[in-house]
Amino acid sequence: MEKLLEQIKKGTVWVFPGGVHPPQQKSLSNNAPIARLPLPEKLVLPLKQHIGASGKLIVEKSQHVLKGQPLTKPSANWSVPVHAPTSGTIIDITPMPSAHPSALPELSIIIEPDGKDTWCELSPLANPANASHDELIDVIHNAGISGMGGAGFPTYVKADIKQPIEFLIVNAVECEPYITADDTLMREHAAEIIKGIELMQQLLNPTLCIIGIEDNKPEAITAMTEAAKHNEHILIQTVPTVYPSGGEKQLIKLLTNREVPNGGIPADIGILVHNTGTLFAIQQAVYEGKPLIERVVTVTGNTIHNPGNVWALLGTEIKHLLDCQGFSPVPQQRVVMGGPMMGFTLPTVRIGVVKTTNCILAPDHKELAEPGPEKACIRCSACADACPASLLPQQLQWFAKSKEYDKLQEHNLFDCIECGACAYVCPSEIPLVQYYRVAKVEIKEQIAEKIKSDRAKERFDARKARLEQEQAERKNRHKRKPAAKSTEEQQKVADALARVKDKTSDGDNKSAVAAAIARAKAKKQGGELEPDNSEVAKERAARKEQARLYKEQKAQNNGDDEAVDDKKSAVAAAIARAKAKKAAQANEQTATDDTTNESPVAADDKKAAVAAAIARAKAKKAAQANEETASDDTASESPVAAGDKKAAVAAAIARAKAKKAAQANEQAASDDTASESPVAADDKKAAVAAAIARAKAKKAAQANEQTPSDDTTSESPVAADDKKAAVAAAIARAKAKKAAQANEQTPSDETASESPVATDDKKAAVAAAIARAKAKKAAQADELAKQSENTEPQINDESSEGSQQTAQEKKKAAVAAAIARAKAKKQQKEGNDQS
């Protein structure tokens, strides 16, 4: 190690294999100082002028920018900004032909200079020597500096490298013919370049900095030596003029006898190489605060009148450079960007100078002849002798032609630096480098394809897996659901069975079933407005059982009419209770006291129960009607001694009506005592007549009364041991209630007391129904006169007459009663509407 360092310090220079000696042609351009050009008419700045990603655009069209103002900002890895080379207006941001052999369009900012060349505010580092590492890196990064030797590698990445650097090599070789940009830069700005080197030394702290300069630049060597005198860590090494000693790997070999491994970078062997132009740019950025906006470009060739080096603003069109230096093109004029060995012919001169443009060569036909047609390879192996990378160009050529890309890689095609030495020496004028370039692109493309196809496969597999999973999930969902259901159902079934068992153990199948039904209904109605239904159903079931018992009893004491032992009355009572409850639930705006007194009921007939149910339903409906006034609805039911269902039914209806009446809009407080006397009528006709009478009375009561009236509906005791009578009575009561519902302005207390009714004849029932219907109709009529109504109290002999009531079960009567009720309700509704 020490030995190597000593050797280097002694000035030993090793040699790399191969190399050629093309005519230098450097004296054309290296005599004049670097010229300043007038501002061009426009500047075309590609966003990407380096290796890596382009920055993010931060300016917009028609924006005015100052010299040095950043136009993009670094976004991704390896992205460096570009800056406005002069003050002016952005006239467009559009794809323009790029400085590349393909001239493929690339997004560019077109600036029209305003001629003032106003700098933006520059902020140079106050004390670069004490600046921190990160500060320096940031400055270098934000100044948009990338390698200016040719590759355009972002300098901040190189400067921020993590590997320890032993040798910092400054590439001042400039081995390609014609180019003198670095040469003149070193002559004029050696001190600045040395400052740049010292900054890099500060950043990387290498053991030694070696500046490699070809021996054909004596003036540059002198200038640099002079400038670097004070720094003992800077060594200026003169290297023989051989093309391509300026190649990075070749220069490393020359100066340190080390070789960069295949596929590696110089940092892997502790070496970092920088171009002189880059170091000058670093010095400018750190000490002056100036971003990279211009560079030295050699404009040369036999068609140029004043060949020489110029400071070219980035983005200056090549045409402008040529015009400024005097350009007299020949027919089929070629303009080459770069040197004659590695440069490429520009498809158009309307391309801007970029950060890597070091030379514009406009040769005439003699000095750089158009290559002749390719001839067959004669296997002279001159190319292999010339190759600085010790490759086998001829072999590579065969493989490239036959597209054997794996063989090309085996023969280390990617170590080829495309220096063109092989093509230069080829007697058959085979454009070897072009073949390699194409092959390289093809291989890179294949690798990219491979990566892409792997990715596609991965995504395809992932998608397949996903679809399969989704399908499986769908299937499982179908499977799981029924399973879950079945357990639930099983539970339910078990519960049901248990309940049924309970019931049967209770003794009665029917009641159990009924209870089950009731529960089912209750569940269905869960959350609805009628939570009582289940209870009602239970009650019904209970009643049925009771009814059966009572039937038996009844069969025993047939003749005796015990009010308490009568099912029908029981049923009726039950219905009444239900109605009362409903009424209580109705939307009442005032508090209603609903006292439901239930007497022991005994029912022994199904039909009666059914009828009762219907009645209740109707009653509920009525109860839900809108009541505006406070009404006390006392439904007191006296023990029904009716031995007949129908009677019970009728009674129920009557009660319902009474409730409705109570709900009516009463504006006046009226005491409406609907006392029903037990109807002791044993004659239908009588009953009918009575009913009619009552109806009329009610009608009168319903008339519009403007003065508070006491409406006492007293019904005269009708001797009813007859159903019809009972029915009639019921009707009467209903009417009385209606009357109460009439527009009364005073609150009314309504006591609906129902007397046990006993009817035993169908016809009577029918008649009664008709009577009621008529009565209602009449009641609905509009009467203008105020009338106070006296309805005969019927309460009188309730109990005594109730006992006389005989129990007779006749279906027909029931049916008739039902019809009557239906009608009555309809009319009630109408009446309500009217009132």
Partner: protein, 184 residues
């Protein structure tokens, strides 16, 4: 007697080697057909189904089972050549007169015409289309394999297969260009 020894010795040897082979057969058993893997890596993985199989792997399996190697239009002649090398068969031109060097294409959705039916999303074998019901769809160019499968299901025909534009990285020197010489 000597004969007997010889027989016993040989028989014993045969038994031992038989056991070793049997063990090796179980111990170093190769799962699946390795050729299929190799073929699959050669295929371009566009999953386009132009070979008549639902994806590249099924075609790889078919080739391993003796199917023709020239049914992959996206792979072009290069793929046929590689397959021929691998399978030890003669390379032949692509079936159906397809281009030897296929033009790389990617799907492009004319977004203002897209009605958001998601049919192309379902058709895409590599999930390279993003979008949602009644929302505009778009193609992830980097993931698109150019398989064409989304073009057919589109009810409004708003999907184009566009050739991939060359970049500086993919641009190639035109070596076969005929040099133009001026005749005076």
């Amino acid at each position: 007697m000597t004969l007997l020894y010889a027989l016993i010795a040989l028989g014993l040897l045969a038994l031992i080697f038989g056991l070793i082979l049997g063990f090796a057969a179980v111990r170093f058993r190769v799962e699946g057909n390795p050729v299929v893997e190799q073929i699959d890596t050669i295929l371009p993985q566009t999953q386009c189904g132009q070979c008549g199989y639902p994806g590249c792997r099924p075609y790889a399996e078919a080739i391993a089972n003796g199917d023709e190697i020239n049914k992959c239009p996206p792979g072009g002649d290069a793929t046929v050549k590689k397959l021929a090398d691998l399978m030890g068969v003669e390379a032949k031109p692509l079936a159906g007169g397809e281009q030897a060097e296929p033009v790389k294409t990617v799907a492009y959705i004319r977004e203002d015409e897209c009605i958001g039916c998601t049919k192309c999303i379902q058709a895409c074998p590599v999930d390279a289309i993003v979008g949602a019901t009644r929302q505009m769809h778009t193609v992830l160019i980097d993931e698109c394999t150019g398989c064409d499968l989304c073009v057919e299901p589109c009810p409004v025909d708003c999907i184009d297969m566009l050739p991939v534009a060359p970049t500086k990285q993919t641009w190639k020197w035109q070596l076969d260009a005929i040099p133009v010489t001026q005749i005076d």
